[in-house]
Point group: C2
Chain length 347, copies 2
């Protein structure tokens, strides 16, 4: 290292990655000017700006983001996380999650942000702050609230830029984007009822923030017909094919005989249909099945799924909009998106 130093000459760059001082020298201006020029600061003469930018580009120079964010307190990174408090296993590869992640990746990158992906299984103290990675991210997008509403609220009140996909909850200190889940549950159940179904099973965990209102919609639709939900037809299942499959098998084994099923996700619906098929029950002749989400698979499974569509593309766009606004300390409100009934073969 010291021998290197002694050979050093004026023309020698010699440190691998170029830095601003190098560009400054090449352009014959000061570092500050380079900094401003690269930031497209109009305070720099247009000519100078263009010159510096060209030199930097030709030299393949890239700003050191660590140094930049150490100064500016901004990183250009958004942390996207999936809270899984209620999940046994990873379900990051749930098609719904994946679709949302892909859409978020699109939205974020198209606005110059990078996306840091985290899976949070253990929710120890400060897990949300951890997502910020101590400043390695400017803000946090949560996909689903799990049972962490309180923690999210606290983080938001602590000034953290955070936005969640999910249900609008009481006393929410953070903006959220989500479907009108009660309406979704209502539409789904009414559709089954309109097809003459009366013994309608509910598949999903009604304790979750997003699912509770779907369950409420389900009960309300039943009530409209003077029906009361049958406890044996309430089946708690995770958002996983295997789990739904087993749960429905178990329900049938206990002798329950639904003529309709409202599954709170398409994946659950597919698992249910498989279990029904194993039991020799035909869909929709013997049992009508309706899902939720309208993932890509829904149209291609057999039978194709009647489902409640969530507009995830819109959701992703809004989430990013709101997060960016929150990062800029602008006031941001919550949006509830109307879900839509999509009728296919299964119900």
């Amino acid at each position: 290292m010291s021998p290197r130093k002694s050979i050093k000459t004026a023309t020698e760059p010699l440190h691998g990655p170029l830095q601003m001082s190098d560009i400054a020298r090449m352009a014959g201006v000061s570092e500050s000017t380079v900094s401003r020029a690269l930031a497209n600061n109009p305070a720099v003469a247009a000519r100078t700006r263009a010159l510096v930018q060209k030199i930097a580009a030709d030299a393949g120079y890239r700003i050191n983001p660590a140094a930049r964010s150490l100064r500016s307190k901004r990183t250009g990174i958004v942390s996207v996380a999936v809270p899984l408090a209620h999940q046994r296993a990873q379900h990051l590869y749930d098609p719904f999650m994946m679709t949302m992640l892909a859409l978020l990746a699109d939205e974020l990158t198209s606005r110059g942000y990078s996306m840091l992906l985290s899976k949070v299984a253990k929710h120890q103290d400060g897990w949300i702050e951890d997502l910020l990675n101590g400043g390695q991210a400017d803000g946090v997008i949560l996909i689903g609230q799990s049972f962490e509403h309180e923690a999210i609220n606290r983080a938001a009140q602590g000034g953290l830029a955070i936005v969640a996909w999910g249900e609008q909850l009481a006393d929410q200190a953070y903006p959220s984007v989500g479907s009108d889940n009660q309406l979704g549950g209502l539409l789904a159940t009414r559709h089954l009822l309109e097809h003459g179904r009366r013994r309608i099973a509910f598949l999903g965990d009604e304790r979750l923030p997003e699912i509770a209102p779907r369950f409420a919609g389900y009960r309300r639709a039943l009530a409209e017909q003077g029906l009361t939900p049958d406890r044996t037809l309430l089946v708690r299942t995770e958002f996983e094919l295997d789990d739904a499959y087993r749960a429905v098998k178990a329900m049938l084994a206990k002798g329950a005989r639904p003529d309709g099923i409202f599954a709170v996700s398409d994946v659950i619906a597919v698992g249910a249909i498989r279990a029904l098929a194993d039991a020799g029950l035909r869909v929709p002749q013997d049992v009508s099945v309706i899902g939720f989400d309208d993932i890509a698979l829904a149209a291609y499974s057999h039978p194709s799924l009647t489902t409640i569509r969530q507009d995830l593309a819109l959701g992703a766009r809004l989430l990013v909009d709101k997060l960016i606004a929150r990062c800029a300390n602008l006031p941001v409100d919550t949006t509830v998106i109307a879900p839509q009934l999509i009728v296919r073969e299964s119900a």
Copy 2:
């Protein structure tokens, strides 16, 4: 803000996030000692180390990663990217991709790394270097090589820590992990042949690095039976349900009548089965269909898919192992994983 300042007292921390100097003061040691203690540097007395760590933890202190990486040149972030040169659309939510991403997220987080997710559609100069985000990431994991072998090689030779999931190619300057694709193609096609199928269609883009050897395996299996591939049964399709569905419909419309189909992914297989069903063809009675990957869906689609399983969990683990080794400038080799035939209903 200024009114707050005026109330300032000696005990008041008042700069939001604590910093090392604060912990140093609380612990009655120097910043250097704090730094070392938090890094678990054994040069610090065990007692002191424990004390400092406890104080830091209790105070909720977290190291500023920007400052840390400005000094240490390490970020603890790995960039994971999906090159999509050959893709029209985003297919980040392809189940295969998603499974891989989820597994990588697990592997990385369990080793203390964060995962920066990028989708690369336009491969302009220096796109790989861009993934490093100018130092915001320590290394790059590529899922698939697309047509970018040369660019990847150049980046690797330039000293960038990079690892790819995919096929082992000639003159590879970077380590890769992937299935033995030719063997996979061979197993798949032989299975169809053993079931008496003779007019076997190939669904996929055989120009892609990972698909070419599957195609070679397909041809070899046919050759073993003295058969030559029928050009009308070679259907180029993207890794998307819709596209596969349309492509198979088009093939059938042209009058092609395969009795077997080797689809290079399960998603493609599902699309194909749908198109066959539309044409009144039964699977497997009229046409046997075999897929590739063994994604979660494979076991639950109807009919369930016979397929060639890729061990993605192992793959993800190896990718991360190798990347970490490369980051440490250790020599790293390429691994080829044996694929496995999984027999279900579709063939």
